[in-house]
Symmetry: D2
Subunit: 273 residues, 4 copies
């Protein structure tokens, strides 16, 4: 306490002395502190094993039922959810903005003709998709020895950017996506996006390997045209696509995350006068 008083006195003199900082700055020995009044981060309990949901996750599919979803009439058996072709895509009942998302999937067996040759190629083989905010697709495809346009293969942001590498497993083997998605910041007037203040960003790991690193999403991932942003809510469902192939899914969970880490959240300002 007394030490502090002395210190204040010293600095008071220093301030009068003027231009102290030109010669010595604030680095008067010892431990630097940023001076930013950070909040204490909340405690989260991680899962027991890798890929298990942490304590702040919302579990979207734990193998037992599809209560978190609506839409297509898909099948649940043996802890696995399977696309029922042409029954429709499914969407989460809960809506989400920026998220960390874990999804596991397995592509269906390759259809073969009587000679044992594959019948389906490219986009026709093991196709599905994960639509963040119902609009921005991370492609799900059987890209194990199956060529297509690179920005349409598994791990791509559909028709925007290919995965850095092709890390697909064979049909029937379980694969994982770990996705960081931060939502776009749009200015919407009526039914128009009049400004894209900040695009959405996405980072994707497939089977533990980085395939997309902080990609600035260019807008809706259309099949038939250049991407652009159209009006959405601040939160939207996560969609899994029915693309007429019997894709399997399991162990799906999501965490809500901040919209940004550029300059992070801070406590209420502390005044130092």
């Amino acid at each position: 306490m007394k030490k502090m008083m002395v210190l204040f006195a010293l600095f008071a003199v220093a301030a009068i002395g003027a231009r102290a900082e030109d010669e010595a700055g604030q680095f008067v020995g010892g431990d630097y502190k940023s001076g930013i009044p950070w909040k204490t981060p909340a405690v989260v309990t991680p899962g027991d094993k890798p890929c298990d949901p942490p304590s702040d996750a919302i579990v979207l599919f734990d193998g037992t039922n599809m209560d978190a979803w609506e839409g297509g009439n898909w099948n649940v058996a043996d802890g696995v959810m399977t696309v029922e072709p042409s029954s429709g895509s499914i969407r989460t009942k809960q809506k989400f903005g920026s998220v960390q998302l874990h999804v596991e999937f397995a592509t269906p067996p390759v259809n073969k003709d009587e000679n044992g040759n594959p019948v389906d190629f490219g986009q026709a083989r093991g196709n599905s998709g994960i639509f963040l905010m119902n609009h921005y697709e991370v492609q799900v495809l059987d890209s194990f020895g199956n060529e297509t346009y690179p920005d349409g293969q598994c791990g791509s942001i559909y028709k925007q950017v290919p995965p850095q590498v092709n890390v697909c497993k064979a049909p029937g083997q379980w694969q994982s996506y770990d996705i960081i998605f931060t939502r776009p910041i749009l200015r919407i007037e009526g039914d128009e996006v009049v400004e894209v203040i900040r695009p959405a960003y996405i980072t994707v790991f497939q089977n533990g390997v980085l395939v997309v690193n902080h990609w600035a999403i260019q807008g809706e991932t259309y099949f038939h045209r250049t991407p652009n942003y159209i009006p959405i809510e601040d939160k939207e469902p996560i969609q899994l696509q029915d693309h007429h192939n019997r894709m399997q899914f399991r162990n799906i969970w999501v965490r809500e995350i901040p919209d940004s880490n550029v300059i992070p959240a801070q406590d209420k300002i502390q005044h130092y006068e």
Copy 2:
């Protein structure tokens, strides 16, 4: 429907026509168009001479009166507005977010002692400031042959970044600032900033020379501490600082601009199904 069927058939043939896109992609001759349904930009009439306000500008000071301002009791004479020391800073009555801002200023004569030597140095000589959104200061200082810490000299974002070059004119000569400022996007809960979704950005020309290029503002430009963001409205006044020196100002105008040009505004979506 039938039309669509025909169309699909045609494309099927095209696809069989063997990797058409490998040979020609969508660039089947001639002129590429982005396919983005841009709006037609609004027409603006530029000023007659350089530095004159364009037709969409809001004139904040045209030399006749201070009707656009409130706060300190400054003086207007001969088309010029002069700081009345200790009368207080002034703020625009109208509030602004992202803007292009033009300001002209002249620093006051240097105070001299009986031997003709300057009396005031550093921050004490010809000091004022332009606060975008009332919080983020572009320093105004007599930095013509007057040394101070670089991130506090004229053209600096105060205590964040120095100007790229020192392009100051002598006291009494008219100087100009042309500023592009895009507002921060903050998430505010109660009286706290819980997230800085996107920082503010600023670009500054002094006397026609680039001095700050798209600086990501780190927050409030404090005198006494590290910058951070605190709650503000989406629009705030522009402030001119009374720092006890008789700074002169003239020809002040502002244009409201989009918050971003990263991915720009687009027309209502056109559907191509």
Copy 3:
């Protein structure tokens, strides 16, 4: 001097006073300094009048000759340089990376038929272009009452983004571009761009009005296809386009600027142990 000695003594005591900053941070009253050892910015003398070149500018055309240029056989008369149609585009002999560029131009009279109606429309009327690094075009066009696709009109980054507003003057009137361009950072192996580490960025004022704000250039501004980056040197010529119209140019100057202002240059590190 003596004052300084005292000051040092005081700080020494403060340091001995021990871990002051642990208890109170570095904000022990008074003036905060960032602690970043900034360089003192170089002094630049601004031009006398707005649009005059500052002292560190390289003048590319002062009205007398085309010595700074090579390529097409254009005409110089009355302080003005005029495109000689089909003689070819011109390029600066000197090469540039990141620059601030000032260019003035006037579009030619509109061709009319015997009834006084315009003959040329859209891209055919008063077309030229300014190619930064010989590859990235700021469109020059007579867009005064002359419609075309927005991302191809005057002030656009050609086929990438329209100007925020249309601030064109009538044919024959002098207009200005003030451009901030920071070069792309590419990783090139052989004759391939294997990575775009950072795109080029561009900001454009037309006639003093902001029309493009820090646009991330998507690559070569092609006529016939989607943009992408192809190999270039770190510095390349600035090109003015011969698009078969008698565009006029005058008062062209350029300043070399840093490649970035994200986190700016700093002095050699100072050690504070």
Copy 4:
């Protein structure tokens, strides 16, 4: 040639096949392609189990020896590497720039006094660090019920930004870091950084939970002063810190990744004339 003629015919019919697309450029019905000549991504075989190294990983520690490292005299036993206090930090012999890095660690038991109360607090408990490029520290600390300044706790970028959440496990339990790091792009002249063209970026998962999302590293993570960038090579060792605590490490592997995903690598340009 003939094929192309047929193709043209088909497209012509498609266009006649009616709809607005023929005015809107290349969207003449059907499948849009970006036109970007992407490379086919390289094939990588993922690890068998989560956290196993994929086929393109460089294994830095597989439990058997420290051949990949130099520096401090640490211990290897039972598949685990343990800090030998005061023997010094260790660095990889191989140098790396941008990487995906997997590291597992366990903090040591808490030292207790005779009454069973902890002896060490804050930075003194279970401290180590992972220095990307030998300069940028992801803090390793026992932050399980152990308070310290938030930007110095486990998962922080040391003295720059706290983790989004505190997801630490108890001492002795195995934890993981999965890190995406893209190197800074610096312009270095002599022994000075004269420009930070692009900062380094870092994303961190701790125990599978996102804790840092694409943070722009502000420079060297000093103990005693504000961060800034100092000269480094394009590749530097990865360092594990000896901070005098018996931290354990296992299963360390790294993958070299592109410096950016903003606008990704593309094939040699294809010409479409």
